[in-house]
Structures are given as structure tokens and as C-alpha cells.
């Protein structure tokens, strides 16, 4: 039986006749969860989120309730809530659909969460390039304010919160929560060192701050609606709820699919939802969730512990779509934006493409990341331009090893992981490519042998 979607967050996305205005949202039960929840104690809502086991949907997968629990309540400083709408992990486009097609769901989730943590003010930090999304959110907040779902004394509860939509200006690093906070303070987005700058203690203006992803805040609405314990029954133990999978790259039908956690596999995603590889091609590699996650090569086998406790073996296509399963295979589902690459893909070029990205996006604060990402870009670009040397293969891996774990924020890992996984897994391709280049340099008359066969990626 083909795998099916279970749409909770995306329930009305792309539904014919569903529009972004308040009236339509309310016709579909909008703001009813807020109406009920705002009569309850904030601590009860936080408990629901803890009970739900909900993990953050921004890539790191940290439990949301635990994050909220870190809030420093003793300082007496105001608490801030920031919605991270700076969606910029390559391969990820799930939050865009919510912002553009169901903005009130995000606003309801934001107000609910703000109430639960008793935030004084909430922000939605949206990508600068989402011009339309910014306007849509501003308009939706105006509507919600006029209807008393946002602003002063919300629905007579005595609780007040405003939402400011704030535009970024094209930096990937603003998706990192402390970089985002610096940016929101009007500075360069240099991530802060933890400790002491855990946002829940020393966040925006050095006040306790919670930063949650767009989808996470929407999930909170449904957690509160169904109750944490009920929500925890969706999906698999350790990863409750649904994941919105965005698939892209070499598939017949790229698109987004909301699937109950662990209830489908990579195979289902590729064939049942994605329509398989383009005609006449086979899939060679998969990046599970945003390009920073470690790549998987078709044919790899993973020794795993099955849900019943017994030992088993999975191939790439067998991996169930939940966080624990990807962790067992040495990678992570990250932001659940999966990229498929077929047999025409030059894996060295694919890595060079990403290295160019990370070099461009390194904020420059930490030397290992600034220099490491730059040299990784230069070396892989040189290999793609025909100037490869056999020692470059180990050099790329060595540089990556020197970056990971030596930086203030996780951009260091994001730089390193693609190299650390691509190089050993596709070493044969690297060697063949460089061998052909060396041969071409020694025999210039046969230079055509090193010409690109697939699409140029860098």
C-alpha cells in the first residue's frame, strides 16, 4: 500500500478556496485553540508542550518543552519570543508555505506560545528575500489585532502581546539563534558563545528569550489543541508529530509532503511521493535534511536496532522518516528537506557547490570556519576546474576535521559534515576525476576526457 500523508500543519495548504484572510481562517476553526487556551494557566500549556515530546523543527531537533523550561524566571527581566522565519538551509522550503498560504496559523501559534512563556513582546524574523511573505504577515497581524487576537488584553484575558515582523537581509547565519538575536539588535549576525549566552537566560537585550522555528510554533497550536499526551501518540516514541518533507533535486515530482513521523521510509518519499528518479536514471545519493546533514550513498548498509529491540540492517531507502532512525545511520533529518541526486551527478561538483555556499555564509568571526570554508571552496573549485591533485582528497577531509568542534556556532559543523561524509563515501569518484585530470595534463591532446558530463554545479 502506498504511503500516505497526514496533514496537520498543512491541513489547508493548497486546499481549493482556502485564502490567507482572517475570515477564512476563522471559518476553518481559526483562533479557537487560542480562545480556549488563554483561559488556562500558562504553566499548563508549557506542561502540554513538555508532555507532547515535540522536537524543534528548525534543524537541531531540540525538545521544545525542555527549551522553554530553561527560561530564567528569577531575573525579573522581560521575556521575549522570537519566531525564526529565516528559512535558509538549502533544500528547505516548508516554512515558506505556511507564511505565504496560512499566515494566521503561525500567528495563532506565536500568540499561544508567547502566552505560555509569558513573553512581553514577540518577533517574527523573516528572510529579507521573502518580500511577499513580509507583507502577508504584516497584514495578517493587523487583522488579528483588530479582532483582539494580538495586542492589548487579548480576548479579555489581561494578557497583552504585540508581534513585530522583522526582515533579515540575506544572511544564512541569521538562522542560528544567537546570530539572529544579534541581528535583531541591529548588529552583524555574529553568533554568541554559549555559555554564558544561552538565549533562555541571556538572549535579546540580555533578557530571557525563546527562539522557535515557524513550523514548531504551528505544531504548538496542535499540541495545545489535542493535549500533549494525545499529540505524543502521533508518530514514533522519541519523535512525535509529523514532519513536513520537502523533496528536491533529481525526482520526477519535487514537492512537500506532511508525513507522520516514522510512518514512511526514504523509499516511500522517493517513489510514492516524488515519483521516482527522472526517466532512465537511478538515484546515487541522498542528503536527508538540509545540505548540512551528512550525505548517504545508495548501496550503503547500516546496522541498526529495530523498534522491537532486535538487530537489523537497512539500506538508504529502508530508513524510516524519523529522527532516531536517521541518527542510527550516522546522519540527521535536520530540517527535513531531502535532496536526491541521480547517476549523472558529479559528486565532487556537488560538494564544491556546497563549499561555495558555506564560504559565502561564514560570518567570519571564528578563524577555523572563516579560513576553513574559504580553502575548502578554493580547493574543491580547483579540482572541478581541472587542477586536481591526488593529495587534495585527504586535504579536504583534514581541513574539515579541523573546523568541526572549533567554532562558536554550529556553522563549523555545517561546513565540515558535507566534506567529512562526501569524501570518504565517494572517494572512488574523486580519485577517478583527479586521475583523469592528471592524465589530461600529461597528455594535453586528450583534454576532452575531463570535460563535464552532467550539469555544471559550480
Amino acid at each position: 500500500m502506498p504511503a500516505t500523508e497526514r496533514r496537520i500543519i498543512y491541513r489547508h495548504i493548497d486546499e481549493p478556496g482556502y485564502t490567507i484572510d482572517l475570515a477564512c481562517y476563522q471559518r476553518h476553526g481559526g483562533y479557537e485553540v487560542l480562545r480556549k487556551a488563554i483561559a488556562r494557566k500558562p504553566e499548563e500549556l508549557t506542561q502540554e508542550v513538555k508532555d507532547s515530546g515535540l522536537k524543534g523543527r528548525g534543524g537541531a531537533g531540540f525538545p521544545t518543552g525542555v527549551k522553554w523550561g530553561f527560561l530564567d524566571r528569577k531575573s525579573g527581566k522581560p521575556v521575549y519570543l522570537i519566531c525564526n522565519a529565516d528559512e535558509s538551509e538549502p533544500g528547505t522550503y516548508k516554512d515558506r508555505q505556511i507564511i505565504y498560504k496560512d499566515p494566521h496559523q503561525l500567528i495563532e501559534g506565536t500568540v499561544l506560545s508567547a502566552y505560555a512563556i509569558q513573553a512581553k513582546l514577540a518577533f517574527i524574523y523573516i528572510r529579507g528575500e521573502m518580500f511577499g511573505g513580509f507583507t502577508i504577515l504584516e497584514r495578517a497581524i493587523e487583522e488579528a489585532r483588530a479582532a483582539n487576537f494580538v495586542g492589548n488584553n487579548i480576548l479579555g484575558s489581561g494578557y497583552s502581546v504585540d508581534i513585530i515582523v522583522h526582515r533579515g537581509a540575506g544572511c544564512y547565519i541569521c538562522g542560528e539563534e544567537t546570530g539572529l538575536i544579534e541581528s535583531l539588535e541591529g548588529k552583524r549576525a555574529y553568533p554568541r558563545i554559549k555559555p554564558p549566552y544561552f538565549p533562555a537566560v541571556l538572549g535579546l537585550y540580555n533578557c530571557p528569550t525563546i527562539v522557535n522555528n515557524v513550523e514548531t510554533l504551528c505544531q504548538v497550536k496542535h499540541v495545545v489543541d489535542m493535549g500533549g499526551k494525545e499529540f505524543a501518540k502521533i508518530g514514533v516514541p522519541g519523535d512525535s508529530g509529523t514532519h513536513i518533507w520537502g523533496i528536491s533535486g533529481h525526482v520526477a515530482k519535487p514537492g512537500y509532503y506532511e508525513i507522520e513521523s516514522g510512518k514512511a521510509t526514504v523509499r516511500d518519499l522517493l517513489y510514492d511521493f516524488g515519483g521516482g528518479p527522472p526517466a532512465g536514471r537511478t538515484i546515487k545519493a541522498v542528503i536527508p535534511g538540509g545540505v548540512s546533514m551528512k550525505i548517504l550513498r545508495m548501496g550503503e548498509k547500516f546496522k541498526v536496532k529495530l523498534p522491537d529491540g532486535s538487530a537489523g540492517e537497512w539500506g538508504v531507502l529502508d530508513i524510516p522518516l524519523d529522527s532516531g532512525s536517521f541518527a542510527q545511520c550516522g546522519t540527521s533529518l535536520g530540517t527535513s528537506g531531502m535532496i536526491f541526486m541521480d547517476d549523472t551527478t558529479d559528486m565532487v561538483e556537488a560538494l564544491a557547490n556546497l563549499n561555495a555556499f558555506y564560504a559565502h555564509e561564514s560570518c567570519g568571526q571564528c578563524t577555523p570556519c572563516r579560513e576553513g570554508s574559504l580553502w575548502l571552496k578554493k580547493i574543491t573549485a580547483r579540482v572541478c576546474d581541472g587542477g586536481g591533485r591526488m593529495e587534495d582528497i585527504d586535504l579536504v577531509k583534514t581541513i574539515a576535521d579541523q573546523v568541526a568542534g572549533r567554532t562558536i556556532c554550529a556553522h563549523g559543523e555545517a561546513v565540515a559534515w558535507p566534506c567529512q561524509s562526501n569524501v570518504p563515501k565517494f572517494r572512488d569518484e574523486w580519485e577517478a576525476k583527479i586521475r583523469a585530470q592528471i592524465h589530461a595534463r600529461e597528455h594535453p591532446e586528450g583534454a576532452a576526457a575531463t570535460a563535464r558530463t552532467g550539469l555544471r554545479l559550480v
Binding site: S88, G128, D162, G168, A169, C171, E185, G255
Partner: protein, 167 residues
């Protein structure tokens, strides 16, 4: 500085919404760039005064964030996504084709001042790759085959009476 009444009013309404003035930085800079097309030295100094920070605090932001620029560009700002999902579906060919059709090199403006073509990093629309942003609008599924027609459409919409792109 010469800012329209509308933009001034917008900026003056914006700043007090933030607990600290400096927080309005990116929003103020966007507002000025979207009126003037770029951020001049005068704009940087004006913003500094407005937000009660030293001009260097504004300058370091202007030079850090890719969307801000210090010189005007062409009448139409064409931004081609080059990151992996778009590249796997032909973004480099699309970019070559747009440069050829619009008559400019990468990161450059055409001689007639009409078009600036740039590569940008992932814009979060990977399921409809390749994508191109023209000014403030996202265009999806711009495959290498469609690129020449797409360029023709941009050309048709562009006239010498347009000011430099504000986006």
C-alpha cells in the same frame, strides 16, 4: 537627507515599536534602499543619527548583509539561485542564458543600465527549482529551456524610464 514623506513617516513609526532603537537598523536600511535604490554615505550617517549609534555601527551592517549595497544597480535586479537544488536542475545554464540574453556579465550591469544579473544563495524554494528573483518577485521552474523566453519577458517589461531597481 531627501526622503519622501511616506518613508519618513514609516521610519518614525517603526523605531518606537522596538525596545531599543538600534533594533530597527535592518528595517530602516531596507526602507531607505527601497526608496533610493542603494545606501549612500549620507544614508548611513542619517541612519546612525536616527538610531543614536556611530556611523561605523551602520556601515558594518551595510557591508555585512548581502542584500544591502552602496551603489545603484540596473533597472531590473535579476537574482539566480545557485545552491544545490537549483544547480541540480540547471541553474548555471539558466544564469549563463540570462546573462547572454540581457547582455551583462555575472554580478554586472548591462551597458544600457537595464539589467543586473547576480547569483544568490538558496532562497527557500527548492521544490520548484530553478528559481530566479526579479526585483521583489520570485519566479519558479525557470529551466534552462525556459530561460530565453523568461529573459524576453523581463526585457518587455523594462523601459529606460524606470529608475534603478530598489530591490
Amino acid at each position: 537627507m531627501n526622503l519622501s514623506e511616506k518613508t519618513l513617516k514609516y521610519i518614525d513609526g517603526l523605531i518606537p515599536r522596538y525596545p531599543q532603537k538600534r533594533s530597527a537598523m535592518l528595517m530602516v536600511l531596507h526602507a531607505i534602499q527601497e526608496e533610493q535604490g542603494f545606501l549612500s554615505k549620507e544614508a548611513i550617517e542619517w541612519t546612525a543619527q536616527k538610531l543614536e549609534v556611530v556611523p561605523m555601527a551602520v556601515y558594518e551592517v551595510v557591508t555585512f548583509y548581502p542584500m544591502f549595497r552602496q551603489a545603484p544597480i540596473g533597472r531590473r535586479h535579476v537574482k539566480v539561485c545557485r545552491t544545490l537544488s537549483c544547480a541540480l536542475r540547471g541553474a548555471y545554464k539558466v544564469c549563463d542564458s540570462l546573462q547572454h540574453e540581457l547582455g551583462c556579465g555575472l554580478g554586472q550591469t548591462s551597458a544600457d543600465g537595464n539589467y543586473t544579473v547576480e547569483f544568490v544563495e538558496c532562497v527557500a524554494a527548492c521544490g520548484s527549482a530553478p528559481v530566479v528573483i526579479v526585483d521583489d518577485k520570485l519566479h519558479e521552474n525557470i529551466t534552462p529551456e525556459k530561460a530565453p523566453d523568461f529573459a524576453a519577458k523581463i526585457k518587455k517589461e523594462t523601459s529606460p524610464s524606470l529608475p534603478p531597481s530598489r530591490y
